[in-house]
Symmetry: C2
Subunit: 215 residues, 2 copies
């Protein structure tokens, strides 16, 4: 099993670039071209593919459609991924209203909130009372959840999620989550991301030095 987050992120990028190329009418692609599209080296592309046993044709490159099938399967995009969101505040509703997840095969099937005023069973994405989370998740065998509550509530929400059978969390609250061994928590910490930009702006514009970060 490949455990490098960066590597998996690159696979997603390859996939997205391949969709672009496909929509432009290309049927096959060389590692060089794909690398340029994504902003990595051709070696990196071939190495990544090699790690997953993906092979192309010498001199012929890769068939985009076959490649996409492989990548989609690795990334779990061959079936619809159902996701719930806890916390129907600013971030939570932004996510629930976002149209872009659909075309990625990701469907937010429900939101949950502790505040009755935030609940609304009849929206496009229903927002349910937090008390209904466990049954909902169990019934629908949902494995992925998003935490968009204040930090103070995040751990207890996570515990509830794990109890219900969720195995993977994307957490927006600026706090570390204690999680079982067979689960995964990824963090989106916007304060840290901003702080990081601030550091590099200061650092790049104080002395003379060049270096970039890319993602």
């Amino acid at each position: 099993m490949v455990t490098s987050k960066n590597c998996i992120i690159r696979l997603s990028r390859y996939k997205n670039a391949l969709y672009r190329l496909l929509s432009l009418g290309f049927l096959k692609v060389f590692s060089e071209t794909l690398a340029d599209e994504v902003g990595v080296t051709a070696s990196q592309v071939r190495k990544d593919f090699s790690l997953f046993g993906i092979s192309g044709n010498k001199k012929g490159g890769y068939q985009i459609e076959a490649l996409l099938n492989k990548l989609s399967s690795i990334l779990g995009k061959d079936k619809l991924q159902k996701v719930i969101v806890v916390g129907s505040g600013h971030i939570g509703t932004a996510l629930m209203k976002y149209k872009g997840f659909e075309k990625e095969g990701i469907k937010i099937t429900a939101g949950f909130d502790i505040d009755p005023a935030k609940c609304n069973k009849s929206g496009t994405v229903p927002v349910l009372p937090i008390g209904e989370l466990k049954d909902f998740v169990k019934n629908d065998a949902i494995k992925i959840g998003i935490i968009a509550t204040p930090d103070i509530a995040a751990q207890q929400v996570a515990d509830l999620m794990f109890e219900a059978g969720i195995k993977g969390i994307l957490n927006f609250a600026p706090i570390r989550i204690k999680s079982p061994q067979d689960s995964i928590v990824n963090y989106v910490n916007l304060e840290l991301e901003l702080e990081n930009v601030i550091y590099f702006v200061n650092a790049l514009n104080k002395p003379l030095s060049l270096s970039k970060d890319s993602a």
Copy 2:
């Protein structure tokens, strides 16, 4: 100059942990304790500090207040950082309404949008027409911007920002930004983050293997 993004992110985490410790009444801390708080090794803490010439007291650990001053200065948190947001949609307004940035010394001073219906000069954070961006940024010498527009508009917004003197961007649009050498762009790509969680959930629950990602 330290150019490792991960290292800088850790500095931010140390800072946040130190504030917690301080608020709990601690005055000094050992690398071991801080490491536990942040979820890294003590060696890592000391090595990071060493890279920035931060030193403590043998046998005595680090004075939290002095340490915080150093870290804050490195991270540019010794002065208020003014930031603008372009795109007053779901993500953009979530950011503008977020109270948490203030206590981090980050102030979103204005939003900008192409849609007159989204503009509103009299809110807590005024939202101005995109045409006013350049003057505003120049007058206020703003160096940091956030892109929260659709992907299709992101590059042109970025170009406008760079032209106005912005040096660092946090970009929420799922697209790579071409940027000048002396600038920095960080990406928050929520689709990729979710896809990543999905991969690891599948990977961890298919075979028997253990491994975790932490942030």
